[in-house]
Symmetry: C2
Subunit: 230 residues, 2 copies
């Protein structure tokens, strides 16, 4: 029986590359997305396309409501910041930061992994282009893994421990794109924009678009997505 | 300005005692409950009563769906195990264990705490009468606290660290009941049964009822709740 992995899939190019990486390990992959009231709901449709295209065994979207806690441009009625270049982006933790988001996502992944008997969780966090999010750092992921192995039956009964894999953590955006190309990811299925137009065009000016565009430029590859005229 | 605390409130007597303990510290308390498809929905009504009676600043019920992951008698269609005494209860991790439940609950508490600027999270876990749940052990709570302080702005920006408080962790059930009485908790507002009758009577035979009944007996106090005739 193949080993099982729970893979967090957002619909973006990072998590699509992670899912393809997990498939390449030979793991049976269970794709997990979150409907957390995000403004960019096109992500969820992209996540379903990506999971199907890359061959996930199953795709589940967990509905959670972070809006009642407030506090982020991605879930509340705050304008998404726009810039003309990566250099112009703010320093420090951006207002698009969602409190404890990766901790909540990994906690759900942990619950599903325990139910499935999966020994692997894969998350596309990245410490290079992470835009100042505290929960994208290696020391955070290591602390989560340690906690997870004390939280579950595996920790008590001495079964196989859970590993949290972060195959992108040391890669630049262009490195992620090159890895995805190697793994034959169809990036036209992915979505990255925090603030797409109603007809589905990416804004080209939010932090996520700027990092994506620079990644494709640095990799010397065209981005297959449509962007609004600026 | 008083310090703020997020207090997990289930509607049971343990978390009611925790909330009263947190109020006694002088903290402004934000009560957090979860609607996770539990069969014993009377808990949620009890949680709202308890939060109001003990003086929480606000009470939020977060809706999360663990049923799609399966795997527990409390959320799936498995019969709740019944016994005649505490001694007859099973050893090891019971089938009422919900995978990663406390990790998910604490993750939401962490998100709200960060949004509120709260430096305290209070959870009524108990290592004595914990019935074999791995995520009720002190080493688990310590690992979560460490992870939480790497996950958030506090960890990056060097603000006040978050403390996870477990005021009941070393207490027996009778010790918890005595503490609650000292703190003037009205235990008639609480609910503990995993499988109450339609008219709201506790079954008196699930693990949770058996522990509660023995706790009141050991404390030499009457349980104010109504139980079904057996």
């Amino acid at each position: 029986m193949p080993e099982r992995a729970v893979c967090l899939v957002s619909g973006g190019l990072d998590s699509a590359t992670c899912l393809a990486w997990a498939r390449r390990q030979g793991w049976e992959c269970y794709a997990l997305s979150f409907d957390y009231g995000q403004r960019h709901r096109q992500e969820l449709e992209a996540a379903a396309r990506v999971a199907a295209a890359i061959g996930a065994e199953r795709h589940v979207t967990a509905r959670i409501d972070l809006r009642q806690f407030g506090g982020s441009a991605l879930t509340a009625e705050i304008n998404v910041p726009k810039h003309h270049s990566v250099e112009e982006m703010g320093q420090g933790i951006p207002i698009t930061y969602v409190p404890a988001r990766n901790t909540i996502f990994l906690s759900f992944a942990l619950a599903w992994a325990e139910t499935l008997g999966a020994g692997h969780v894969v998350i596309g966090v990245n410490a290079i282009d992470y835009s100042g999010y505290p929960d994208c750092r290696p020391e955070y992921v290591a602390a989560f893994e340690r906690m997870a192995n004390l939280a579950t039956r595996a920790g008590v009964e001495g079964n196989t421990p859970l590993r949290i894999h972060t195959p992108l953590i040391e890669l630049s955006k262009s490195g992620i794109i090159r890895l995805g190309v190697d793994l034959r990811v169809d990036f036209s299925l992915t979505r990255s924009c925090y603030d797409p137009s109603p007809d589905g065009h990416a804004c080209g000016a939010c932090d996520s678009c700027l990092l994506r565009l620079r990644g494709f430029a640095d990799a010397g590859l065209p981005d297959p997505l449509a962007y609004v005229d600026r």
